[in-house]
Symmetry: C2
Subunit: 153 residues, 2 copies
């Protein structure tokens, strides 16, 4: 089984997408990660869901979560108003585009698993000559790499 | 809304659990992470699904995924035979028990989200005086931290 046979369509966002909209998409579709394209339609980064939280939680609160306890309802509302109108690109950090969990269309299941383990990603993008074919989630991959292969009911 | 109200029962494994069994549990229940208890029944680590892959993918393959392409079917079979009988504890790395995505039962939703973002974890364990109450997944939490709160149909 090769990556192209396992790749499924997967919603992508762009650096121009509204940040809150991106988080809503993730929530609604229960995505394990956001795949972010740059303005040229090439994969720029894959953000695990926990990292996409930075789009709604400011960095100083991530660094000191206990501070959240003293936030009033009103202050929480302020946080979100401050985020209104910001794009995904505005909130990406330096380094978010370094190494990407991307596999070639003919990668083997074991290779896909090794890339996920290495990059600590539950999703890999599948490309063919730079063209995005779709994505493979770990949940989809796992039965194919378990000893004995996928269950055959 | 506090952590204790959002906590749900969540399967846990122990350092004594067979490693392949732990991965099968993760696959069958589609868990975003494995919560690993030590022999005293205290949370020892929370391994994201992509990191639990190390239980089936040896480290040298994670470091050089392209090597997987030259693995024969037979060699893959060897890999799994080598893992047979190993426990989760055998395969944990040094440092796996450092900082844990754990929140107190009275943590606020914003605090839980900040802990997830900080620890890069899609799951947090909820404790009350050291006692494990259950876990909160990011998918469950997200509607409660979105601006406007959870949808009320």
């Amino acid at each position: 089984m090769r990556a192209r046979e396992l790749a499924e369509s997967y919603p992508v966002v762009s650096v121009d997408t509204d940040a809150l909209e991106a988080v809503r998409l993730m929530a609604d579709r229960q995505l394990p990660a956001l795949i972010v394209f740059d303005v040229n339609g090439k994969p720029r980064t894959v953000l695990p869901d926990s990292q996409a939280l930075r789009f709604i939680i400011p960095e100083y609160l991530q660094e000191d979560p206990a501070l959240c306890r003293v936030l009033s309802e009103e202050a929480s509302g302020e946080l979100f108003r401050a985020l209104a109108g910001l794009t995904v690109g505005d909130l990406l950090r330096q380094g978010d585009s370094r190494e990407l969990p991307i596999v070639d269309h003919d990668a083997t299941t074991m290779e896909i698993a090794a890339v996920m383990a290495r990059m600590r990603s539950s999703v890999v993008a599948v490309v063919d000559g730079g063209q995005f074919l779709g994505a493979i989630t770990l949940v989809r991959l796992l039965p194919h790499v378990m000893p004995g292969g996928p269950a055959t009911p």
